[in-house]
Amino acid sequence: MARSPRKPDKIYNLQNGMTRREFITGAAGAAGALTLLSVPLDRLLNPVKPAQIPAEMANTDEKVRAWCMIIDLARCEGCVTENTPPQCTIACLGGHFAPKGQQWIEVYTAELPGGGTFFMPTPCYQCENAPCVNVCPVAATYQDKTGVVLIDHRRCIGCRFCMAACPYQRRFFNWGTPELPPEAAFAQYSPIYPVPAVKGTVIKCMFCLHFLRMGKLPYCVSGCPMKALYMGDLNEDIASNGVEVVKLSRFLDEREAYRYKEYLGTKPRVYYLPGYGQTFGRKPDDPRKLLPVVWPWGGEGYNRRVGIWPWGKSPK
């Protein structure tokens, strides 16, 4: 920029003898100094440490996994044949002390084009192009290197933007202080095992990453009486439901696997194998319905129901 000749009446301040240029450079310098000074202050203001992962859950596996889940809809009977609520959900909420109302893996009764119904277990789909991770304003939700979408409940601000962004409705919010059994308090929190749930934050299925790292199957997979759920590794091309081990790519291909709402481009890591329960002979007019999930510790979900007075309504 060409320097124009100085016009003293314009840019020279008689009172403290400072030109505009000096003022601007001075202000920029001061701002820079303030920024430098604020660095230790930032540390001070920032007590949030990266969440600690207990040693036994640490990833000892050298290989990078790409975890995925395969749900065999042909086998899933919603546990109506067992005459129990869906066992995957029961195993999950018992293992994670999920607050009442949160079914991290939920079984829906979905309709078939021909008029029948089928049972559809829905965990978090751990999308590769995860809309929830994209919109998080504070990076509280993120993907670990195995592709599992995790939430750091020490950072989450509870804006619920991720819930609005999730096209599968697989995220839940801890609307109050969760009512949990006393043993939940002994759990050591980490993003891969978010127990106990933190009030005012978003929570969801995290593929039981704490188990996967120890070489165990997730609660839902081992809890399924039909062995309809498989845990797989896309990198090693292998999957297991705890009883059999399959070659993943061939298995998905032969069974004509699909992903829910594939057209959205979210690339879920959960594959469905169509089949609609033929194995067990479910007919379109089967009267047996899903049984509602019961939380063993009961309660209202979040303690203290709200009334107009500060102490609230007393729980009945």
Binding site: I157, C159, Q169, N174, G176, G200
Partner: protein, 458 residues
Amino acid sequence: MFRGVESPNERLQRRVLAPLFSTGAGYRAFVLFLVAVVAWGVYAYIVQVNYGLMATGMRDVVMWGLYLVNFVFFIGISHAGTLISGILRVTHAGWRTPITRMAELITVVAISIGAIMPIIDMGRPDRVWHMIAFGRLQSPLLWDIISITSYLAGSLIYLYLPTIPDMALMRDRLAKGTSSLRQKIYTFLAVGWQNTPDQRRRLDKAIGIMALAIIPVAVSVHTVVSFVFSMTLRPGWDSTLFGIYFVIGAIFSGIATILIVMAIFRKLYHFEEFITDKHFRLLSYLLLTALLLYLYLTFSEYLTVAYKLAGEEKQLLATLWTGSNAPWFWLFVVAGMVVPAFLIIIRRGPVIPRVVTAAVLVNIAMWAKRFVVIIPSLQVPLMPFEFGAYAPTWVEWSITAAAFAAFILIFTLFAKVVPLISIWEVAEEQEKEEAPAQETREKQQPAMRPSPLGRRQV
């Protein structure tokens, strides 16, 4: 002071400054009432912090509610200032001068109230600083923060700059005594204004720059507010039209708000002389323009969806048109589009009651419209389950009432500190009208000449 015949300028000063020097019992009672409503809202918020968002009607399916509706509504009406004082100043619309101050005040107050709403909505308000410490620029919420804080800062400057000569006027008037604290405040705010030609020229230039700069910032604000919704894969939100749809909606409700505020202060502060039928008429034409634009956008938005009836979108339209959200939707269509359009087009009866009725209806309808945009899209099931339920609780209604009360309260308090009509600008305009011969050359220039920067002769 008022010897002989009052000059127009003296009368202007007397009228405009009168409310600043006298405070009636009614005013105090009104302020007290507003403070009580705000205090009740604060109590409701304390209850909410205590129990968590359990205290609201929001749940896992419909996870956003009234707070976000209020957020979009208040950010929307903040566009009043930009339109009236930014766009009309840039286009040299001389009639704007008596209403610019009020419009700019609406902007500043509305944006402050609007910006608080997402914080009230947060599950962890204690962690609001995470937004700064760990902010991710990839998130539309960060765009909101940047845009809204810029707009707030810009509007504050833009509100303050044209008040400087009026602050100096207050300072000089108060020099004769009364409260020394007030005098000190006005002396400080007047920043040594002596009305020298050099100062006038600089002020004009600064205001001109701000008038231009604030327009893109205002457009960006409501665009990124819409992005919070349109960046998701929800039915009704997944739309490329949302940016301009929200901006036009904001200008629409902004004009309606300025009309209401004008009418109230015209009556209360006896501004009949300065704010005339002409202002209401001209603004009503602007309102009609915004209405027609909004109608057009609404039509495009819904027709493109209704023609295709894609899965979830069909469910959304069903709930909007005939389902549980139909009252809200048709309230918006009838009270926000049809009735105001007829009230403005059919020019029968006195202009002010007619236009103000339209403006009130528009504001009610636009609040309903924000509800219609946010809630039904969340209710539509994305998985094989039932429609989501949402019934706001007393906590949400209390905080909503408190937000409106706070808006009026801040405005009412401001009205006692700052002259609500920009005295020097109106005086300048009066002089121009009295000396039309000098102005003919300038008036022959096309009205839409863009840059007023420092070109105006003082």
